[in-house]
Amino acid sequence: MNRISDAFKGKKAFVAFITGGDPDIETTEKLIIAMAESGADIIEIGIPFSDPVAEGIVIQQADERALKNGCTVDKLFEMVKRVRGKTDIPLLFMTYINPIFVYGKEKFMSRCAECGIDGVIVPDLPFEERAELAEVCEKHGITQISMIAPTSRERIEIIAKNAKGFIYCVSSLGVTGVRSELNTNVAEMINEVKKVTPVPCAVGFGISTPGQARDMADVSDGIIIGSAIVKLIEKYGRDSIEPVKQFVIAVKGAM
């Protein structure tokens, strides 16, 4: 077991996402510590990308803000290193494959290991292309998180069998973002996973309220919230630490 799967032991895990460098690196650093202290179990840091095709408008705009303010992956590595000195919470990078590939896969993963990143979520790297990173991730002890979607069906088995850390279960079709209703049959998807692996399942995409978090946590091992937190950051900017803290406490309390 590693730090990521440990976060699911004996409890439902709350994975909290923010875009790195939105509105600036200092605020991201404070937010990570604040979320860790208020009950988040895993922090997912989005590396801002010029063309985030799996994101809805909220995270697209967060990426734009972060890039405009000069965020780079090098600055994020430095920030993560500082954060790692203050907390043991599992830290993940969520990034499209291009920033890793162009930075250099080997260099990227070795810096991840050096700075204290536990895993990566790469939404445009499906099972068939995992090999792109598998070797370097293995070498540096970085967990490559697998995703399954409502359209995965017969693909679930092979994906789940090879999964590590946790499985990111995409709740619904479409891109990330707040949804008033989550109508996919998530429980059924998770049942399929459970047939082949004990690796925990966390549900993401569209969860924005403590009530939704509770409902989804009931049928899974944990939940992932991104856009709802990023919306608070969009609204409050550098003053978002307190509102985000309150939100994390409310979500964790409901789970």
Binding site: F49, S50, D51, V53, A54, G56, I57, Q60, L67, T72, V73, Y96, I97, N98, P99, I100, F101, V102, Y103, P123, D124, L125, P126, F127, E128, E129, E132, M147, I148, A149, P150, T151, S152, R153, R155, I159, V170, L173, G174, V175
Partner: protein, 396 residues
């Protein structure tokens, strides 16, 4: 070419969200089934012949040849196809395939609007619902094409994210596809994106090169010395090149959009300035920075205003089988006017990039040599933009 599944050497692949994986796999299976289905092929050739007007002409540009006083120049007249460009070849194939797959709704990106118009046309013909995503900047540059698509019954969504051009239109169409897959087919307009699109689009476009070969053999009794085409994503270029790849004596030249110049930040010359990356579902060359952020590219031609290039072109470039050369806005506009005055043919500003390069190399060649330029589209859509470029006010 292509070797490992979905790969052209190291390029290509399927770098897309899991949500879309079953959709592209179903598409691949359906395509491989219908590709060899005589019924499907018969329906498609009938559409290409009776509806699109194929084969397109191979025209000996005698005045241009005399004027340049070098190689003999032939124009492959894809501009004469129904809807005015080569885009119809791919669209008829894909929409027919989508229909066979039981899809009822078609979505597509468009840059200049040529692919959007072709898609809207095929959707109208085959009774499919159609939605087109087009960068806001391009809906302004190509307002006439927006109205044209609407006339054909399509809904046009201006895309306001990012640079509001072709790459953002692709992003938005991909996002739309992940939202609604069961009844929807994404008609990708170029030899790009995740496998199987680069293969499917190339197969539907390779008819251009096959016709060129038969026509030039009939006219001249020999193969050309060079085939020249413009390259954005690269569909008309691969369509022209593909049948000649095995003919080592035929130079294959792709002309990319250099905008204000390859050394100016405002360009879209992927081969001249790009590096290998992974974007829009494929590994290929892209204009990007040291951190892999995709560059905001520029060209006067909305259809070439794209920061990447299809994976098969990346392989052809690495193998040295095809050459890729930059052509600036100024050179393209000059060629646009030149062909209009010399031959009475107004080319698409995209295709004018290929004409411009032919003008550069033809004079140094002999009269015994032959250049074929693929005239991928007609220029009616560009008249207003060229007037703007030249500072001519054509509005009353």
């Amino acid at each position: 070419m292509g070797n490992k599944k979905g790969r052209f050497g190291e390029y290509g692949g399927q770098y897309i969200p899991e949500t879309l994986m079953n959709a592209v796999q179903e598409l691949e299976q359906a395509y491989l089934r219908y590709k060899n289905d005589p019924e499907f092929q018969k329906e498609l050739s009938t559409l290409l012949k009776d509806y699109a007007g194929r084969p397109s002409l191979l025209y000996f540009a005698e005045k241009m040849t005399d004027d340049l006083d070098g190689a003999k120049i032939y124009l492959k007249r894809e501009d004469l196809n129904h809807t005015g460009s080569h885009k119809i070849n791919n669209v008829l194939g894909q929409v027919l395939l989508a229909k066979k797959m039981g899809k009822t709704r078609i979505i597509a990106e468009t840059g200049a609007g040529q692919h959007g118009v072709a898609t809207a046309t095929a959707a109208a013909l085959m009774g499919m619902q159609c939605e087109i995503f087009m960068g806001k900047e391009d809906t302004d540059r190509q307002a006439l094409n927006v109205f044209r698509m609407e006339l054909l019954g399509a809904e046009v969504h201006p895309v306001t994210s990012g640079t509001m051009t072709l790459k953002d239109a692709v992003n938005e169409t991909m996002r739309e596809w992940t939202k609604r897959i069961h009844d929807t087919h994404y008609v990708l307009g170029s030899v790009m994106g995740p496998h199987p699109f680069p293969m499917i689009v190339r197969d539907f476009q390779k008819i251009i090169g096959e016709e060129i070969k038969a026509q030039i053999l009939a006219a001249e009794g020999r193969l050309p010395d060079a085939v020249i085409a413009c390259v954005g994503g690269g569909s008309n270029a691969i369509g022209s090149f593909y049948d000649f790849i095995g003919d080592a004596g035929v130079r294959l030249i792709g002309c990319e959009a250099a905008g204000l110049g390859v050394d100016n930040p405002k360009n879209a010359a992927t081969m001249a300035n790009g590096t290998v990356g992974i974007f829009h579902g494929m590994k290929s060359y892209f204009c990007q920075d040291e951190y892999g952020q995709i560059a905001p590219v520029y060209s006067i031609s909305a259809g070439l205003d794209y920061p990447g290039i299809g994976p098969e072109h990346a392989q052809l470039a690495d193998l040295g089988r095809a050459e890729y050369v930059p052509v600036t806005d100024a050179e393209a506009v000059e060629a646009f006017e030149y062909l209009s005055r010399t031959e009475g043919i107004i080319p698409a500003v995209e295709s004018a990039h290929a004409v411009a390069h032919a003008k550069k190399i033809a004079p140094a060649m002999s009269r015994e040599q032959i250049i074929v330029i693929n005239l991928s589209g007609r220029g009616d859509k560009d008249v207003a933009a060229i007037a703007r470029y030249k500072g001519v006010n054509i509005h009353e």
